[in-house]
Each structure stands twice: as structure tokens, then as C-alpha cells.
């Protein structure tokens, strides 16, 4: 394997993609930050930005090794790459023959950074920072790293089963969505929910974040081809098409309910991008249109359902990422075609009904792992050191009470 030669085109492209995906975490921070109240904007940004620091260290120390180290029984990577040992300029043909193994590891790091950041939407405006940091580290170690190995690691049991997840429908979006759901159930609603008005304080931030997320998503999905090639180009087109379609449909839904809201348009775009993520490298552009068109109403009404149940999963990570990508994973089982990606598989509509069952296994396993581990860890932290700030600190706002700063003077 080490005889593989670095392909400069692939390497240049992947260096760019790595940077694009890095940008998605600050983009997500502002996407979320616009939707919280002004007293919690710095707190919300920090909950996201801190992952660039935390996982930036964790991934080099041991995270990458757990996810992509030599397989142990299909369950986890060995500690062979602790401290990035053996992760250098030489390509690892098992993952990508044309780019340095270190670049593959860096690209994957950005996924490990943004995924737990997605979960923070569940508990903004009330989580205790110290507890959150501990949770973040435990979650990355017990949920993200193993799941990443199962789905993407060579020898991982879901990968061996044939689960198709091009860029993270399970590993990123379902995992984040269902973890968010579990955490929200444990931490409880923000004080005053649902009676008090939790009005978004800066919708322009959310729109700016959406735009940057979309750009970053090209790196996320097209980059998951791990090379500058036709599959990457297809993934870029499908990503764009699904985001566009879902944005339009969501805007229409919000129009039917009153006015075409800017926040609705932005939410729809992100939902379409999340939905197509697992499918992006396996389906055609028209299939991506179907994926986006179906994802929008699913998530739109999932938000209603969530609110009706009185659950304060504050920024709808479950509805927007969990539900959208659940559909995306299923749609991959329906619409995947080897004509797009010979390394993939055919779905139900291309004569391979068994792919649907395989996808279902991937989805359900991810939900159970993410929800189960998050629920147990959150409960344990709640009992021991406490998940929430005291009421008075929540009322004052976490910017002042947790960070000793104010955003707008």
C-alpha cells in the first residue's frame, strides 16, 4: 500500500475540501447563534467553536485511531495511530490511494469536529459549560469514534454489511439528531418554555451561517469522494440540487402558513443538504431533487410534532438533521445507482431491494447507539455534576453568567 503515489490533483482538491469543512463549524455556530436570545449568543458560539479546539486535540491524540485504526472485531480501531503515529505523507491505499494519509486524517477530523457541534442545538441557553465539555469528550469517544469506524472504517461491521453512507447520513446527521433528542429529554426545557417567547435574536446571522454551510457542504459531500473525480462532481451537483429543492419547498410551506419566511428558507436549505448527505455520491441529480422535496415537509412537520409534544429540543437538530438524514439514508437504499458510482450499489429502484434493508439496519443501529449512549451519559452527568446552570444564571443569560462577557455593549 505504501507504494501508492501521491496524486497532486486529488491532494490539492482534498486540501481545499478539508478547509471548506472546517469552515462549517463556525458557520454552524452563527446558524445556531442567530436563533437564540441575545443574552446567549456568545455561549452558543462558544459551544460550537470549542470543538475546533477540543476535537482538534482529541482526534490527533486518539480519536482518529479509534475510528480509522486497524480494525478490532469490526467494532473499533486499534490504538496503532495514537498521536497520529504512522499517519504521514504516504497514502494509505485502504482509504485513499492518491492522497497523503495525514490529509485523509485531517479531512476526517473536520467531520469529528462538526458532528458534536450539531448536537449543541439541543441544549443551548441552559447547559452548564463544565458538564458540557465533559459530555462532549465522552460523546466523541463513545459515540462518534466507534460509529465512524463501523460505517467508514475498513473492517467496520456496518461497512462490511454494505451500508451506503457517502458523507455522513448516519455518522454525522442521524447520530447528532438522535443524540440531541436524548439530551433534550434529559436536560429539560429552557425556563419559561413554551409560554415565554424564545424569539430568534439575529436572523441575519442564521442566513449568513446557512450560506457558509452550503459552501462548506461542497467540501463535505464532494470531498467525500476523496479525490478530484466524477463522483465528486456528481456529489457537488446532487448536494446543490437537494439544498435548492428543499429550500424552495420549505419556503412554499411557510408561505402557505403565512409568509415566505427567511428563516424558513434557510432552514429548508440546511435540511435539503443534510438529507442528501448520505446519498450524494450514489444518486443522480433528479433523485437528489426528490430527496430534497420530500425532506422539507418531513422536517417541517417534525418540528411541529416536537413542539406539540412540549419538548424543548431548542434548535431542532432532531427534526432538521436526524429526520432529514433518516429519509436520506432510506432514499439512498431506493435511488442509489452504480451508473453514478461503480463503487456503490444499486438501490430498490435499480433492481436491488435488499439495499433498503441494509440501509435500515444502518439507520436503526445509529439511532439506538446515539440515543442510548447520550441518554445514559446525560443522566449520569445530571445526577453527578449537574447538566444545567442555576435558574438565576439562566435568566441572566449564559454570556454573562458562564463566560463573564457580553456580546453587544
Amino acid at each position: 500500500m505504501s507504494t501508492a503515489v501521491i496524486n497532486t490533483g486529488d491532494t490539492a482538491w482534498m486540501l481545499v475540501c478539508c478547509s471548506l469543512v472546517l469552515m462549517m463549524t463556525p458557520a454552524l455556530a452563527f446558524f445556531y447563534g442567530g436563533m437564540v436570545r441575545r443574552k446567549n449568543i456568545l455561549s452558543t458560539l462558544t459551544l460550537n467553536y470549542v470543538f475546533m479546539a477540543l476535537i482538534g486535540v482529541q482526534w490527533v491524540l486518539y480519536g482518529f485511531s479509534l475510528a480509522f485504526g486497524p480494525d478490532i472485531a469490526g467494532v473499533v480501531g486499534s490504538l496503532a495511530h495514537v498521536g497520529f503515529a504512522g499517519v504521514g505523507a504516504a497514502p494509505n491505499g485502504q482509504y485513499s490511494a492518491g492522497i497523503p494519509f495525514s490529509l485523509f486524517a485531517a479531512f476526517q477530523m473536520m467531520f469529528a469536529v462538526i458532528t458534536p457541534a450539531l448536537v449543541t442545538g439541543a441544549f443551548v441557553e441552559r447547559v452548564r459549560f463544565k458538564t458540557f465539555l465533559l459530555f462532549a469528550l465522552i460523546w466523541s469517544t463513545l459515540v462518534y469514534d466507534p460509529l465512524c469506524h463501523w460505517v467508514w472504517g475498513v473492517g467496520g461491521w456496518l461497512r462490511e454489511l454494505g451500508v451506503l453512507d457517502f458523507a455522513g447520513g448516519t455518522v454525522v446527521h442521524i447520530a447528532a439528531g438522535f443524540s440531541a433528542l436524548a439530551f433534550a429529554m434529559v436536560v429539560g426545557p429552557r425556563k419559561g418554555f413554551p409560554k415565554a417567547m424564545m424569539e430568534p435574536h439575529n436572523i441575519p446571522y442564521t442566513l449568513l451561517g446557512t450560506g457558509l454551510l452550503w459552501v462548506g457542504w461542497f467540501g463535505f459531500n464532494a470531498g467525500s469522494a476523496l479525490g478530484a473525480n466524477g463522483v465528486a462532481a456528481n456529489a457537488l451537483i446532487t448536494t446543490n440540487t437537494s439544498g435548492a429543492t428543499a429550500g424552495l419547498v420549505w419556503m412554499l410551506l411557510s408561505w402557505l402558513d403565512g409568509r415566505p419566511s427567511a428563516l424558513g428558507l434557510a432552514t429548508g436549505m440546511v435540511v435539503g443538504l443534510a438529507a442528501v448527505t448520505p446519498a450524494s455520491g450514489f444518486v443522480t441529480p433528479l433523485s437528489a431533487m426528490v430527496i430534497g422535496a420530500v425532506a422539507a415537509p418531513l422536517s417541517y412537520y417534525a418540528i411541529r410534532f416536537r413542539i406539540k409534544r412540549g419538548l424543548d429540543e431548542s434548535l431542532d437538530v432532531w427534526a432538521c438533521h436526524g429526520i432529514a438524514s433518516t429519509w436520506g439514508m432510506l432514499a439512498t437504499g431506493l435511488l442509489a445507482t452504480k451508473a453514478v458510482n461503480p463503487d456503490g450499489a444499486n438501490g430498490l429502484f435499480y433492481g436491488n431491494p435488499s439495499q433498503v434493508g441494509i440501509q435500515l439496519v444502518g439507520m436503526v443501529v445509529t439511532m439506538v447507539l446515539a440515543f442510548g449512549v447520550t441518554y445514559v451519559v446525560a443522566k449520569a452527568l445530571d445526577w453527578s455534576i449537574g447538566l444545567r446552570v442555576p435558574d438565576i444564571e439562566e435568566e441572566v443569560g449564559l454570556d454573562i453568567s458562564s463566560h463573564g462577557e457580553r456580546a453587544y455593549s
Partner: protein, 127 residues
């Protein structure tokens, strides 16, 4: 007798109200940006999925000091300029004013709030 008018109006009606007051000879006024709610308790805005209610809507509070004689005319001018017929048009409060002092000249009472072409002069000289 001097009175103070506190008129709560829609932000977007300020230009119309100022014009209407200009026409009857009321120039001196100031405004405060306020937020509040009335009987209807706010409005519905469009959220991510469906609507949510917000109250404490932005409004302007217009402050005018004038002679009691001019109250009726001024109130009429404000009402006709600020009205849309929808909930949220606002309210007018009227208070007695104990005293007025112009800082530059030390003038007091009506003297302190008079100016050339004001509503009283116009009344005396309809040209």
C-alpha cells in the same frame, strides 16, 4: 394651562404625524423609541415551522407640550394622521404640566414654549 401630550404611535406613521402637526403649527416635539403591547397582546410572526406570537412591539412615543386651548385640534391631527384602522394604532395620554423653563432664556410657562408661526400665532393671524 399647559398640557403634555404623550402619543403612542406606529413607527411608520411618524412622518405623516409630523406633517399633520406642521400644518397646524406644531413644531416642537420629541420622540422616544419604546416597546410595548396593547389589548391585542402582540402579533404573530412566521417561524421555522408555523408562527409564534411576539409582544413588546416597537412603537414611538411622541411628546408635545402645548396650551390647553390647542389640545382638541392637535389630538384630531394626530388621530387622523396616525390611524390605519387596525389594532396597534396606539393611544394618546394627556397630562397637566406644572411648569416649563427654557434653559437659554429662563422664560417660564407659555412664554417658554412659544415660537414664531406657532399654533397660537396662526390662530390670531389666519393669513
Amino acid at each position: 394651562m399647559l398640557k403634555k401630550i404623550e402619543a403612542i404611535i406606529r413607527e411608520e406613521k411618524l412622518a405623516d404625524v409630523k406633517d399633520a402637526l406642521d400644518e397646524i403649527g406644531i413644531k416642537g416635539l420629541n420622540i422616544i423609541e419604546i416597546r410595548g403591547r396593547g389589548r391585542q397582546g402582540g402579533i404573530k410572526l412566521v417561524g421555522r415551522s408555523g408562527s409564534y406570537r411576539v409582544d413588546m412591539l416597537p412603537k414611538l412615543q411622541l411628546n408635545i407640550i402645548l396650551s390647553e386651548d390647542n389640545l382638541t385640534e392637535t389630538i384630531e391631527a394626530i388621530c387622523s394622521a396616525a390611524s390605519t384602522g387596525e389594532a396597534g394604532d396606539g393611544l394618546i395620554f394627556i397630562y397637566p404640566v406644572e411648569e416649563v423653563v427654557r434653559i437659554r432664556t429662563g422664560e417660564r410657562g407659555r412664554e417658554a414654549v412659544m415660537y414664531p408661526g406657532d399654533i397660537d400665532q396662526r390662530k390670531g393671524d389666519p393669513s
